[in-house]
Amino acid sequence: MMSRRTAAILLVLALLPMSVRAQLGFAERVVEHRLANGLRLLILPRKQSPTCAFYILHRVGGVDEENGRTGVTHLLEHMLFKGTTTIGTRDYEKEKPLWDEIERIYDQIEAERAKGDRADAERIAQLRQREQELLQQVSQWLIPQEYDRIFERAGSPGTNAWTSNDVTVFTVSVPANRLELAARMQADQRSNPVWRQFYQERDVVLEERRQSVDDSPEGALWEAFLATAFLVHPYRNPVIGWQSDVSRLRTADIDRFFRAFYAPNNTWLAVVGDVEPERVITVVEKYFANIPAQPLPERRIPEEPLQRGVRRVVVKMPANPQMLMGFHKPNAPHDDDVVFEVIRGIFTRGRTSRLYRELVEKQKIALSVAAYSAPGERYPNLFVIDAVPRHPHTVQELERAIWREIDRLRTQPVHEAELNRMRNWAEADLIRQLRSNEGMATQLLWADAVLGDWRELFRFVERVRKVTAQDVMRVARKYLHKDNCTIAVLETAPEAQR
């Protein structure tokens, strides 16, 4: 996921296991509502503090991008914070012609850049000079960062957003008495956005890419890993976009994408916290009902063909070795995915897990090891094992040891005690998840928009409970084998001393 504020590439932990015991009563308290334009609203009242999370999800992510325009979803997410026709401006009518002129300058800059080596650098410099003059001129009409300013001043600890391969989520929490402000601001954000300062923001995203991919051993390895594991499915593309794609994006790309995918009938809204559901419905109707529904574009997303043999990729950087192993598998809520959640726990959760005990403590060949589903959940994904070797041991030794543990899983039933531990974790995870409005809002949106029903959160514990040792063996045999495996290794390259 790429987020507006934090640079880390989060390895998407797919289904944070959840369930609920009847006495918690949370499932019964969720209120559903659908606006006439298709917007889906989920409300969970809880009174722990006088605050509420007001989260919006659009079911659009990296998978919906076309080749050559990767990164458009994420850059659009950034642009939504640049204000509207009334927020961030003293007079939109005055600034608009100046932005239009900057756009025409970029038509010329991009045409020149497209000539590659034959581009006229002097001409580009002149055009940029003209752009600077226009930016200077337009600044008199701008109210910088006003969208953020209004929220922060109302007591919000900040408004933010993140983009993943599957979805785009806008997050804000406000004191409970600012519910209407949150609705009014977020409705305006998706009704009247203005793409001001687009080329500055494009540069910001290119910096974000340098920081989180190009200069990051984990980020660079992750990018190569996905591009190897997926040959045709768009999960192969980085959410932040390939460098050359991002550097050529234009406002027209953003605008087209916004109009295609931010329709209310592709939007989910969750409000969790100290709120009255009837009042939430009234307020959301008031501000969102007049955004018109529209047909969504046809999405023809290629299916990943069956993998026929192990794939390996090496990334060389001036850093110590690490490795990723990935196995194609079905996405949630497929039954086999639940079994993988159990396998993930048995393999790497806590100090009693198999890989931790075997690789970190007994053989002492690993510094750390983790497992998770990635990079998304709308389409078949990967079961990933992420391991860091301990000097002088190598990734090859680590790989051999992991295969031995996989073999054990394929040939011997897991212990009942291990399954029981996973059942307890599933229950406790849910309860801990409920500690925050923000966590709960994210889970509700994600389950409803991606898994098809928010109730999947509460079904999950029952489904984990039913997983047997035989299920684990069957699933391990079916998916955890060499021909279905991609291995990415970070090798140490000497550092250029300058």
Partner: protein
């Protein structure tokens, strides 16, 4: 005493043209009560902060002790890191590491020990139905850990591996080496463990460190969650009551020397340069903290700060730029961080310097000041996301020797801050003539910025 804060700020923002200005939306007053803990001192010195919280079927415990890496002997830097790992993983006198971990994880409980600089933290989260067993295991690990040799070796080897890897990440180099550049590489806040300092650590060192620090007089315990207060206190008295011990003598930490202005450069192959600009900061508990928080918000501590505006929004030079005035014992750090492509490093440094100078030359404008104060006041309800967070924060006030009403008076103190107060703290705590600048990146691309800087090595 319960603090009842009424947060109601109806004052407007800059007027917005068009329909439905956000400022015209009516705002009901908000009532917020900071959840207060009951403080109970046991006769042997253990101090409890307790509060029932029936929202979820959980119990959460936070044990704190004075201690931590600040107090490590100079010859054994890394001792505290190895100590907390071997403590957590080494089992108890009764239970092997494996048996202990199985007991914890079979309940889906989480128990971790961490070094927080000048305190040590043991934190436990368990389902309410397991509260008695979970607290029993926590107390067993607290009072009778085993530090088994095998786990001591593992903790040391892990720490050595982390030393081997610590220069892989350019951001980590910048943060660590900036602390060394400002505090000096031999001060406890500036030094770092080495392979030999970690290898010098023995199991006896860890046992002695435990005997020294873990006494009832050096123990604070916060407990919140879904339990019966009476039954809980009875159990806690049973577990802790028979324990005797004196107050540990922790070494005095000398104040770090004031440094003069300097620019340092560390070579690291990268697209971006990582920049740090700053100097020594503030200790905990300064009287004008509220004014400094206002200054930080305006300067670089928020999404709408001057630094964000100048460096990110206006010029697209960086994804991340921020400031921090985090307090620490004996002195915190004032630091601005930024990462930008090598070619714009010098421009970014100049902009940062310019903004620091500006803080010391002129008070903030009325609108800027109002924005900062209202934001700090209105967001106070988010300061402690859970009851547990609020209770731990109150306990830490006592451990750090800060006034117990710190949070009760916070809003009032922010509201009282004037533009002149902000200028005054800028002049008191910022010194543009003593700024230290650290640049980590590719020397060739950085050109004269790197060539003219003092060459430093990443440790």
């Amino acid at each position: 005493m319960k603090a009842l804060l009424v947060l109601w700020l109806a004052v407007g923002l800059a007027a917005v043209a068009g329909a439905l200005p956000p400022t015209d939306i009516a705002v009901e007053p908000l009532q917020y009560t900071l959840p207060k803990a009951e403080r109970i001192a046991l006769p042997n010195g253990v101090v409890l902060y307790v509060r029932e919280d029936r929202d979820l079927p959980l119990i959460e415990v936070e044990v704190r002790l004075r201690g931590g890496r600040l107090y490590e002997p100079a010859a054994k830097v890394g001792l505290s890191t190895v100590f907390v790992r071997a403590w957590r993983n080494g089992g108890t006198q009764r239970l092997s590491p494996e048996a202990f971990n199985t007991a914890i994880e079979d309940m889906a409980a989480v128990l971790e020990i961490s070094d927080e600089g000048d305190t040590l933290s043991l934190s436990l989260s368990a389902l309410a139905r397991d509260w008695r067993k979970a607290i029993g295991l926590l107390t067993e690990l607290l009072r009778t850990p085993a530090f088994r040799e095998e786990q001591v070796r593992l903790a040391k080897e892990r720490t050595v591996e982390e030393i081997r890897r610590r220069n892989d990440d350019i951001a980590a180099i910048a943060s660590r080496e900036f602390a060394g550049f400002v505090y000096g590489t031999s001060h406890p806040l500036g030094r770092v463990p080495t392979v030999s300092s970690v290898q010098a650590i023995t199991r006896d060192d860890l046992l002695r460190w435990h005997r020294t620090l873990v006494t009832p007089c050096n123990l604070w315990v916060a407990i919140t969650g879904d339990f019966d207060r009476r039954a809980l206190l009875e159990e806690v008295r049973r577990l802790f009551g028979n324990w005797r011990g004196g107050t540990p003598a922790l070494p005095d930490i000398p104040p770090p020397p004031e440094q003069s202005a300097a620019v340092g450069f560390i070579s690291k192959q990268a697209e971006q340069a990582h920049l740090r600009v700053g100097h020594l900061g503030v200790p905990r508990g300064i009287p004008d903290r509220a004014a400094l928080d206002v200054l930080d918000y305006i300067f670089g501590g928020s999404f709408t700060s001057r630094l964000m505006h100048e460096i990110r929004d206006k010029r697209g030079l960086a994804y991340a730029v921020w400031s921090s005035f985090a307090p620490a014992k004996p002195r915190g750090l004032f630091v601005v961080g930024c990462q930008t492509k090598s070619e714009s490093a010098e421009e970014a440094i100049n902009l940062i310097r310019e903004q620091i100078v500006r803080l010391t030359q002129e008070p903030p404008g009325d609108e800027e000041l109002r924005q900062a104060k209202e934001s700090l006041v209105n967001s106070f309800v988010f300061r402690f996301p859970t009851v547990h967070d609020a209770v731990v924060a109150q306990m830490l006030l006592e451990i750090h020797g800060l006034p117990q009403d710190t949070y009760d008076t916070y809003i009032r103190r922010v509201q009282a801050v004037s533009a002149q107060d902000v200028l005054a703290v800028a002049r008191k705590y910022l010194n543009p003539d003593r700024l230290r600048v650290l640049v980590v990146g590719d020397g060739k691309k950085l050109g004269k910025l790197a060539a003219q800087a003092k060459r430093l090595q990443a440790r």
